[in-house]
Symmetry: C3
Subunit: 267 residues, 3 copies
């Protein structure tokens, strides 16, 4: 697994995969910048009349439901359908799906018309999707998550997808294999966008690695280690500085460093 | 008043109020991050089909007219109506209302269907709303503002609301009580979003303190003192660095510090 | 030319031109902040029902096709038409026009109803517009650009406009005069938004200088020199820090400094 991380990162940096993003406008700039720092090429293409033509060029599609407008919703459905037809991985970030029923409606439509390669959400979102009682408070999960690995596996099996649940410990599973990633920093919770950025990195990794369990684990480990390095440079009480350093850390990050510092347990 | 500031800040940090924002996409990321740094939980929920369901969960609603799309406009009206029905404070930032007549139309509709708890604008916006000749230049006020306290009181009385006018000296009034807040830094004028961020902090304070005059004053004092601290760290000619330090400053800010450094005069 | 740069910058700082922007929501915050740092006043006004009234107040209009929504598209066309009627310069950033045909449709409509003062794009975009085979990959140009000056001149003559093509070396031409600007830093490629920010500065310069060739050259030289200064402060592997320092650098930049450090060749 650890060897695979360095390999995935190397491949992203060498091939500069084009990652189309249909994402919320709160953190869209962070998502674009983190993709560049990771070695990918972001393309925020999200108008109905553009996505189908554009699908041929992309390597992966990242859909984030954060502030999904009506126009984005139609574009997301068309883009996901076309990406599926072309065999390109679609990564879904089901923001606030446990708190707002319209999000669930959009997810249902996406699942009907496309194949979702990876679903990445916070604990509350993933548990809600899995049919467990996932406790949400607005955008945030306030769930303890003791039954999280089980919920992730249930969801992964039901939808035949990889599931990534973020939290103090991240869970990654394809239903068969499950691992826990213990990297990260409390400062991720002191900024908006850390979940969105992690999801975008999963899409970049999925663009270059067909084993989506390995790709997702690599992305989450990279994000977690970069967060730790940024937090060390920034200090514990400085979310503004931390955010700046996070981009620096992802940009300078090597696969070897991630392999050395990552704390991954197969369970 | 000074004791109240520390108390309001403490309550925000302890209760993490959920502040729904329907705001411009220019500074939306700053607004989300400053709310987190202040101790609140931001939720940018602004689609017509989401706001009514979501209203039950929120503690306050912040509406900013900056780049209000057609979709946001309908959502803002529905959200404000529902928040009013549920007794939750609505804070309005009437961006550019003196320069663009559509903004006034939206404000009229909001006032018809909801109760606005606090209106926070710059000098030109507040004077325009009050029926004084408020001088605007694009988004910015270029008004001297000598008659600003009077304009604020007029507006506060007419709409039965708290009015906050930002400028070199901020004015806060509920029509009966008026105070001037002298904190801040010229660097607020060297970045976009300082007004939006202040408005969001007012909403966070209004979520935990029913005396909206005290809540608004506390938020403005906190913002002003944090700005001064960030400017001291960043230096006078560095708006990029200042913006980063502003998040750090708000995150680390204590009520005691604000109480010590704030310069508030009841007039 | 070098004297002119200092003069253009001085005029922007003294007159604070109001630059209306209809731009993508990925980098809109950067665009607003860089305009403030340069001495201009940004106004993101982009709703159909607002742009015509607002046109009287502006000094220049910047249109960027990055994530153009349906609503923005109609507003852009109406705003460009009205700005043309009022004799105000319109600067167009034809993002991804070589990769997505809807962008070309929008450009055609803009050219029909308005006069475009300056078109600023990357190598692939400008070559695509000029009818050369411009190689795009998503949002990015991957074109070598040996025939770029010729393509720029062809386009400038055909549309009777100034053309700015960004790349390792920037090209500026009005069809008659052509110059190359050799300033800049590889870190511009490590962040999103450097092209958008450059386009906005061109609009600010065009607002105060009727020789649009000189105005565009001044803006590109200023952006390039500021980038170099920011890169020196930030170090070569730190795009997050670089971005922060870029705002600081533009804010502190003097015309004299740009005149001293710029590397401009008339060809």
């Amino acid at each position: 697994m650890v060897d695979k991380i360095a390999e995935v990162m190397k491949r992203v940096r060498e091939s500069t995969p084009l990652v189309q993003c249909i994402t919320n406008y709160v953190t869209v700039n962070d998502v674009a910048n983190i993709l560049i720092c990771f070695g990918a090429s972001p393309a925020m293409v999200e108008v109905r009349g553009e996505v189908e033509e554009f699908a041929a060029a992309i390597s992966a599609l990242y859909i984030n439901l954060g502030t999904l407008t009506g126009e984005q919703k139609e574009a997301a459905i068309a883009a996901a359908r076309r990406a599926t037809e072309l065999g390109k991985p679609v990564v879904l970030d089901p923001v606030a799906c446990g708190a707002i029923s319209r999000k669930m409606d959009v997810i249902d439509r996406l699942l009907e018309c496309s194949r979702i390669a990876v679903i990445k959400g916070n604990t509350g979102e993933i548990k809600s999707l899995a049919g467990y009682s996932g406790k949400m408070r607005g955008m945030d999960s306030v769930d303890e998550g003791e039954d999280l690995p089980e919920a992730c596996r249930t969801l992964a099996e039901r939808l035949n997808t990889v599931v990534v649940a973020t939290g103090k410990t991240d869970v990654v599973t394809d239903g068969r294999r499950t691992c826990l990633v213990d990297n990260g920093t409390p400062l991720f919770g002191a900024i908006t966008g850390s979940g969105c950025m992690a999801g975008a990195l999963v899409a970049a990794a999925a663009a270059v690695e067909s084993d989506l369990f390995a790709a997702s684990t690599a992305a989450m480990a990279a994000m977690g280690v970069a967060g730790e390095m940024a937090a060390e440079l920034a200090g514990p009480t400085t979310p503004g500085t931390f955010r700046v350093r996070l981009f620096d850390a992802v940009y300078a990050l090597t696969g070897e460093e991630v392999a050395k510092r990552c704390r991954i347990r197969l369970v």
